[in-house]
């Protein structure tokens, strides 16, 4: 942002910047800088460092062990972490299921789950989408049939991010197949992944990374006490959940971190002539266009979050952020491919480590971290599809405009 934040927030950002640079372990930082995927343990270690310093869930209310940060502070925090290549926050626990538990959970549920979410002892996954329920989420079919003190759950969830790391999953399940409206027969349940009958299968994606999964439920018995709130009211809780996880919906820090990697690479790669690619006019113009868009996104995000009452802000603006943010991520990663030029067709992830130094000696302009540009590009294709596709966001925006 070109204009400055107010004194309080500038100071806050400075503190966070210093904190992250002091406490982020070197090996984790290096993996981030190289663009290599973080290991499960990296996420857990970083979360526990954050927790030890009171930053485990800083946006939570103080009574639950948080710091009661405003959405703007949380955004500044997320951005600083991303800029310094810290592992991204796993949102499913801290940002998604936790607010639902706080608002609709029993005292027992709060006492058991919330502290374990803060330390990532419990790693949550989100069980929403199904093969035939994507954009039309309310058409979901995974069934939960009451049997004494248990629900017996059968069905399949899909696109479950990092379910192979998860200890728990919150699911929308159908408890009343005969409800008048599809939204009316859904319940919200908390499930321990170690319960017999759960199978996690990887989804093989075109970026050749393992992030997404299918989660199958075969007669999985879940105590009725693991339900959130009332039976058949799950849709209400699900919608409440979607209102959270919005402060950093556009992932501004990640976008900036990637753009700076792209710029650095453009100074190394040869252009069409003898000069570095960074001096190519078409590229420079494209880069400036992206800079302007990124700047606009950051300003939009901060404006929105610094409005007096964020919670009652028209949700239309978050949909706009989602569209603008996801398209920008795709544009930056397309720029990354542009920098790689023809070498983008080589997948250097398969190169044995002992051959690396020898191999790159012949290509002084190339850096091992560049091998992640293509996977990042392919992975970012999902951003306009997940979390409510761009088409769904446009429907929401138009509805708001005309209601």
């Amino acid at each position: 942002m070109l204009c400055s934040l107010d004194a309080e927030h500038s100071r806050f950002r400075e503190e966070i910047r210093t904190f992250v640079s002091k406490h982020l372990p070197d090996d984790i930082r290096r993996r981030g800088e190289r663009g290599d995927p973080w290991k499960r343990d990296d996420y857990v270690r970083w979360q526990q460092i954050l927790h030890a310093h009171g930053f485990g869930a800083p946006a939570w209310p103080v009574e639950y062990g948080g710091k009661g940060w405003s959405p703007l502070k949380k955004f500044l925090f997320d951005t600083e972490c991303a800029l310094q290549n810290a592992p991204r926050e796993i949102p499913f626990g801290v940002n998604m299921v936790a607010p639902v538990i706080m608002k609709y959970g029993t005292e027992e549920q709060k006492k058991y789950y919330l502290p374990r979410i803060q330390t990532l002892e419990h790693w949550w996954a989100q069980g929403y989408s199904e093969p035939s329920a994507g954009s039309d989420l309310a058409s979901l079919r995974t069934s939960a049939v009451r049997d004494g003190d248990h629900y017996v759950i059968n069905g399949q969830k899909v696109w479950t991010t990092l379910a192979h790391f998860a200890t728990h999953i919150f699911c929308l399940v159908r408890t009343d197949p005969n409800a008048a409206r599809p939204q009316a027969g859904i319940s919200f349940v908390l499930i321990d992944m170690s319960t017999p009958g759960i199978t996690v299968r990887p989804i093989h994606t075109i970026d050749d990374e393992h992030e997404l999964n299918e989660v199958w439920f075969d007669n999985v018995r879940v105590p009725v006490g693991n339900r959130i709130g009332e039976e058949n009211k799950g849709w209400t809780y699900a919608k409440y959940l979607l209102q959270h996880e919005r402060a950093d919906i556009a992932r501004v820090g990640r976008a900036r971190a990637l753009l700076s990697r792209v710029k650095a690479a453009s100074e190394r790669y040869p252009g069409y002539d003898e000069r570095p690619y960074s001096s190519n006019g078409s590229f420079r113009r494209r880069l400036e266009r992206v800079e302007i868009k990124l700047n606009a996104l950051e300003v939009m995000n901060i404006q929105l979050l610094s409005s007096r009452d964020v919670a009652s802000t028209n949700p239309m603006y978050f949909s706009i952020l989602k569209i603008v943010g996801s398209e920008l991520h795709q544009e930056i990663s397309e720029l990354a491919l542009q920098v790689l030029g023809a070498s983008q067709i080589e997948d250097l992830r398969g190169l044995p480590q002992e051959r690396e130094s020898d191999f790159y000696a012949e290509r002084p302009f190339q850096n091992p971290a560049d091998k992640t540009f293509m996977p990042i590009y392919l992975n970012n294709l999902k951003t306009t599809i997940y979390g409510g596709s761009t088409e769904i966001q446009k429907n929401i925006i138009f509805k708001m405009l005309t209601s």
């Binding site: 039309d136 970026d207 252009g271 790689l340 070498s343 067709i345 999902k382």
Partner: protein
């Protein structure tokens, strides 16, 4: 301005399509012999050495058919591009190799690219220095498609007087280091290092001064082949996306009933029409000069329309479009690869401006 095809050729392409839909294994080891049996290799070889010597219309048509079935890339890299180079040579060895290609013998791999990041390459840093027994080749070559399986490589190198030479190099020769790499959007690829590889004098198949425009003509030919392949991929992506929209039901009706999505499909078709027209124009250009410009135009629009259509196809397929279960993602990756080979759009605009 229409492709000129005989009935005989039309029924030939039908048989190729049928073969490709019956045989879905796309590994080179399985694909190339099958296509060789059908006689596709003969299209790349002149009649004088046992081929058919196909014209632009036939090449455009067959590339489109192959592209649609994800089968064009090895044919371009192992058959059409090597054959084009060999046709420029007067040597007996080159004629012999062409005759072998016409009979379905393979595979030749092209080791022309060098690790400089951008396509097409302007300067060959690999050198060929004469010695008592022939030449010594030194340098490194990247993006050698099929370099890990090829028995013979066609290696470009700069000679002492500045000419570029094309050498025939045995894949197993001492000093040749082949590092197989996983490719994005290709069948197989390698990085190849030549550590003072000794080759006999007759391995130099042809030489040309850079000023003759020899390599520009080679690039033009490659651009035309890739543009034609890209049209075939667009055909397939458009068909699959329409089919998906007609079968996928959300909110109680097929996606194809949503007007916003109908328009997206139409946008894809509009983009393809332009790309197709330009590729056909290149196919019909007889003279070298007009062909050069036509191939640049065709490639430019294949790049642009290809990326657009691929993006739309993935978005409209939703999450499924990002899985390896469907072909959409693989086709898109191939379109991305095509868009950066033998001239990306910025490069082409630069050439046209100058």
């Amino acid at each position: 301005m229409h492709l000129e095809l005989s009935d005989e050729f039309r029924s030939f392409t039908d048989s190729v399509s049928r073969y490709l839909s019956d045989h879905t294994d796309r590994s080179i080891a399985s694909l190339l012999p099958g296509l060789a049996n059908l006689g596709i290799f003969q299209l790349a070889v002149p009649e004088s050495v046992g081929g058919i010597g196909a014209g632009g219309s036939e090449i455009m048509t067959i590339m489109r058919v192959l592209g649609r079935s994800v089968a064009a890339e090895p044919i371009i890299n192992h058959v059409f591009l090597p054959a084009w180079l060999l046709c420029q040579s007067q040597s007996q060895r080159a004629r012999g190799l062409l005759a072998e290609i016409a009979q379905g013998q393979i595979p030749l791999a092209l080791a022309h690219d060098e690790p400089n990041g951008r396509h097409p390459i302007r300067k060959i840093a690999t050198t060929a220095v004469p010695d008592a027994t022939g030449y010594r080749l030194c340098g490194s070559k990247c993006c050698v498609i099929g370099g890990d399986i090829a028995q013979l490589l066609l290696v470009s190198a700069t000679l002492e007087n500045g000419d570029i030479g094309i050498f025939l190099v045995d894949g197993g020769i001492p000093g040749l280091v082949v590092i197989p790499l996983r490719p994005h959007g290709h069948s197989a690829m390698a990085h190849v290092r030549l550590d003072s590889v000794a080759v006999p004098p007759d391995s130099l198949l042809l030489r040309a001064a850079p000023s003759t425009g020899f390599f520009l003509r080679f690039d033009d030919h490659a651009r035309f082949l890739l543009a034609a392949e890209a049209i075939g991929i667009m055909d397939k992506l458009i068909d699959s996306t329409i089919e998906h929209l007609q079968t996928r039901v959300q909110f109680g009706r097929p996606l194809s009933q949503f007007q916003a999505l109908q328009h997206r499909i139409v946008d894809m078709v509009v983009q393809r029409s332009r790309a197709e027209a330009l590729a056909i124009q290149a196919a019909l250009c007889a003279s070298e000069e007009t062909f050069s410009r036509a191939s640049l135009y065709a490639k430019y629009y294949a790049n642009e329309a290809g990326k657009f259509i691929g993006r739309q196809a993935i978005q409209l397929h939703g999450g499924m479009g990002l899985t390896k279960e469907l072909e959409v993602g693989r086709l898109y990756k191939r379109l991305l690869a095509i868009s950066c080979l033998y001239g990306d759009s910025d490069y082409i605009l630069d050439v046209l401006v100058s």
